[in-house]
């Protein structure tokens, strides 16, 4: 098992390094962060001047070298050595921004390191991911199992029909409905403003603040997971070993939860792990609708501002989250299904 984990981690590290190189090359080959300092009356001359001043006129390999070095040992901004020297010579060294390793870059439009922006955005995104994940896994699996157990009966038909409707509804429709009708027009729920979770006393306000966007997001996933769970459970319940278990006289509850559900869990874990990892990169639509300043909203803002360092940082963090969750899923998978370990 240990060798299996080490092997998976090493492959993950290689994937992250390759991904960083590809992302950096793609973005910087066709972009220039100095555009953010040039304003809306930016002329080519002014852009060229500011590009040089900020040090973004270097070749892509040079900039990638500096970026990689920043990941390992940190960086100072502005990146232009002469500009920094002039600041020091004029007694303004306090205007040099130190970005400690692993430095993901500097946002010219926000005058903050990408690390600072990502840390700030992590709170709402993690909150949204954890709460919505809990809701959709709990209710999705529960309702899915019930639908499977009552296959073909009224409950099953209602569940199957309603999940189809919810799944077909775009997230922004559900979110806008919650925000503009439930919260603003009918005032059935407090207007959602994100409250950070710093101490135990914050749990209730935090949960209250996150509930509407979390339910918005969870409904979409829940609808899918009800159908996945129903299908997986039905499939496993039709296996020969289930018939054997029933023939042995085991109680139906044991047959369902010990034998049927465990088998159905294996593919669900894979799906859930990847979906959760995707959420860690930000729920762009939900965060935008509710104005929750998580990774998704940061991505939208960075895209609008053509803020390349932030976009690169977000892609790196998002992709790393997916790779890490893949490793965790692989390990869980191996734990749940020993055949995976054996087959390597």
């Amino acid at each position: 098992m240990f060798a299996f984990i080490v092997r998976r981690i090493l492959v993950g590290v290689v994937m992250v390094v390759v991904m960083i190189f590809v992302v950096f090359s793609l973005f910087f080959a066709n972009g220039n962060p100095a555009i953010n300092q040039c304003g809306r009356y930016c002329t080519p001359e002014k852009l060229a001047e500011i590009t040089g001043l900020l040090g973004y006129d270097k070749s892509i390999p040079e900039q990638f070298g500096a970026f990689t070095a920043g990941l390992i040992v940190g960086r100072d901004f502005p990146v232009n050595d002469e500009y920094r020297e002039a600041l020091i010579a004029n007694g303004y060294e306090n205007r040099i921004i130190r970005c400690d390793a692993p430095c993901l870059g500097y946002s010219q439009s926000d005058q903050k390191t990408v690390n600072q922006l990502l840390v700030k955005a992590a709170g709402p995104t993690l909150s949204l991911a954890v709460v919505s994940f809990t809701i959709w896994i709990f209710f999705g699996v529960l309702i899915g199992v019930l639908a499977a157990v009552f296959k073909g009966r009224l409950l099953d038909r209602i569940v199957v029909g309603s999940t189809l409707v919810v799944y077909a509804l775009p997230v922004f429709v559900i979110g806008t409905f919650f925000l503009q009708y439930v919260a603003i027009k009918w005032q059935l729920y407090p207007y959602p403003r994100f409250e950070p979770l710093r101490e135990p006393a914050d749990i209730l306000p935090w949960l209250t603040s996150i509930m509407l966007p979390a339910v918005t997001l969870a409904l979409f996933f829940m609808a899918a997971y009800v159908r996945y769970t129903r299908a997986f459970v039905l499939e496993s319940l039709s296996e020969d070993y289930i018939r054997t278990a029933r023939a042995k006289g085991l109680p139906e509850r044991t047959v369902l939860f010990k034998h049927g559900l465990r088998s159905a869990l294996t593919p669900l874990v894979t799906l859930a792990g990847l979906d959760f990892a995707g959420l860690l990169a930000g729920a762009i639509i939900t965060e935008s609708v509710f104005n929750y300043q998580g990774m998704g909203a940061l991505a939208v803002k960075a895209n609008n501002n053509q803020d390349l360092p932030v976009l690169i940082g977000l892609v790196i963090v998002g992709a790393t989250a997916v790779i890490v969750m893949n490793i965790i899923v692989d390990i869980l998978y191996a734990y749940i299904d020993p055949r995976v370990r054996v087959s390597k």
Binding site: L47, F290, K301
Partner: protein, 579 residues
């Protein structure tokens, strides 16, 4: 020589200025105050603020709010529904003195004025604040103050001065020679007369003081207050806003209620995801939102909800300093008759419908807004049919069918405008094509239009808009109509049409040197009239404001001082019973 103050700009009789009647909800002006206490919520849309560092702030609504709450300047415009309001002293003891016709200005800073940490504000703070405005990277590209200083203090810019952080010793010496402090006395010496400098100091943050000890590399979203309120958080959140509470170091004795009544205990700036959410909340008028307001205009989709019933009492219409117009590229459309034909043929009324209808604005006759002191309708356009007159245009063209390309930035509104413009020109006989500039183009729309060669594209007519930086015609006529320097590859100021007329330039020079505000306004109007006859531009729309606010908001007054956005200086929370 006896010193005399010429800082009486703005106090001009506004002949014909069509200031829309202001029926503010109990707007308290001139010391007539409302209730003290409570929290006022300002609602805005996330992402629209570009910074709170005074060197960066550029937009009228941002200047309007911060000027009243946290950033006091040398001078300020008072809260007033008088369109002819003049600047008054703020942190300075008077509106400045000049004994050489506006070249040298001297101000004395009041005693007892402090930063939020209690440190006294000194003359040096003003010089340091001004010096920062010369740093291109700090001003985040907007650089409006730098543009004006590049005109009036060109020698400092030409000496290579780029702010305090990176300038050479020679450049610093050139700056220090022009701008210096002696204790509480601050002196500004320009290359040419700047008659309305006190008004510029009120309307821009360029000359505002800055405390050097708090200046570091990340000041974009910081606010170091010297006003009645201070920011509770360390930084303004560009996506969510900030909370402003009372500044314990602020001494009302150093200020005037004509400028800041500072009635609420707190101002909450709350930014929401989009305009629809913002207006849904104001329409609902529930809970804390009863004491909320916005400076955004009511979208057309909400007109049916707000134009009748009790909610209509919570709306207010006013004029705006913004005008929309069409630039004419004078380098490619050289025949004045063709330029006039373009102007005569344009269906302005159709364009206004595309913009959003009568609540958006009305047909205009100048690039100058009727909200600007000294405004006069441009006689060259006064008799043009706002629905367009293709027959008259055809007469001017005398059978010719010139090829015209219209440049525009791609946006939902512009996509509706362009067909109207195209049909107008085609009806007059022009052969029309378009040059759309995508929103993510680099350089952007104005970056391309600023270029003399229009970035290598054939562009003859293009969409534009402008608002006065302070309520003076100098901030409109000079940037748009004064000839660009010889050899300039990009338009200076906002003269992106590369219009050039020696007679207009001469009148502008005379106006800038004029010490009498009425004379200056008259000279600018003459310059505008000549440019209009010459077909320098095509006026389209005089914009209007249409505001909605909560039922407990009092003192809601869009005024000259706040660029016709709601004045934060007079707003208060009405008691429950007074709703």
């Amino acid at each position: 020589m006896k010193k005399r103050s010429i800082a009486r700009w703005g106090a001009i009789a506004v002949a014909g200025a069509a200031i829309t009647a202001l029926t503010a909800c109990g707007a308290a002006t001139g010391g007539d105050t409302g209730n003290t206490g409570g929290t006022v919520t300002y609602l805005g849309v996330t992402g629209q603020w570009e910074g709170t560092d005074p060197a960066t702030v550029y937009y009228g609504n941002e200047i309007a709010s911060l000027r009243r709450l946290v950033y006091r300047g040398l001078t300020a415009l008072p809260i007033s529904d008088d369109p002819n309001v003049a600047p008054v002293a703020d942190l300075a003891t008077d509106t400045g003195t000049s004994d050489d016709g506006g070249i040298t200005w001297t101000f004395t800073i009041k005693d007892g004025v402090t930063w939020e940490d209690g440190t006294p504000i000194t003359g040096e703070d003003f010089i340091y604040g001004l010096s920062r405005s010369f740093d291109e990277t700090l001003v985040n590209g907007t650089g409006v103050g730098l543009a004006y200083f590049g005109t009036y203090a060109a020698s400092v810019v030409e000496a290579g001065y780029t702010g305090p952080f990176t300038s050479s010793e020679e450049a610093k010496a050139a700056f220090a020679e022009r701008f210096y402090a002696d204790g509480q006395k601050v002196t500004y010496t320009f290359d040419r007369p700047w008659g309305d400098f006190p008004a510029a100091a009120a309307g821009l943050f360029t000359t505002d003081p800055y405390q050097a000890s708090v200046d570091d590399g990340s000041t974009l979203w910081e606010i170091n207050s010297n006003g009645p309120y201070m920011m509770e958080e360390d930084e303004f959140d560009s996506a969510l806003g900030a909370t402003f509470v009372r500044n314990p170091e602020y001494d009302p004795a150093t200020d005037s209620t004509d400028l800041r009544q500072a009635l609420p205990d707190q101002f909450t700036f709350e930014l929401v995801s989009d305009t629809d959410v913002l207006f849904q909340r104001l329409v609902a008028d529930a809970g804390d939102d009863k004491a909320a307001f916005t400076d955004a205009n009511i979208p057309a989709t909400f007109y049916s909800q707000v134009e009748s019933g009790a909610i209509a009492d919570r709306t207010l219409k006013s004029t705006s300093p913004y005008t929309r117009f069409l630039f004419i590229n004078s380098l490619t459309v050289t025949d004045p008759d063709v330029r006039r034909a373009l102007a005569v043929s344009l269906n302005k009324e159709g364009m206004i419908q595309a913009y959003g209808g009568d609540n958006y604005g009305e047909p205009s006759t100048s690039i100058v807004s009727n909200a600007v002191s000294g405004f006069e309708p441009n006689p060259a356009f006064a008799d043009d049919n706002p629905a367009g007159d293709p027959a008259a245009a055809k007469t001017l063209l005398a059978g010719a069918t010139p090829e015209i390309t219209i440049g525009y930035a791609v946006s939902p509104t512009n996509e509706k405008l362009i067909p109207v413009i195209q049909q107008s020109f085609e009806a007059a006989g022009f052969i029309v094509s378009t040059y759309p500039v995508a929103s993510d183009a680099v350089p952007g729309y104005y970056g391309q239009m600023a270029r003399k060669d229009k970035n290598g594209q054939k562009v003859d007519v293009f969409l534009g808009g402008w608002a006065a930086d302070w309520p003076s015609m100098s901030t409109v006529i000079v940037p748009i109509l004064q000839s660009n320097p010889e050899g300039a590859e990009s338009g200076v100021g906002f003269n992106y049409g590369f219009y050039s007329n020696a007679e207009v330039d001469d009148l502008i020079e005379q106006a800038l040197a004029a010490t009498d505000p009425a004379e200056q306004a008259s000279l600018f109007s003459q310059a505008d009239a000549i440019a209009g006859e010459d077909g320098a531009y095509i006026p389209v729309v005089q914009q209007k404001n249409y505001f909605l606010y909560g039922s407990r908001i009092g003192g809601f007054l869009p005024d000259v001082a706040s660029s016709f956005y709601p004045d934060f200086g007079s707003i208060y929370v009405k008691p429950e019973a007074a709703e």
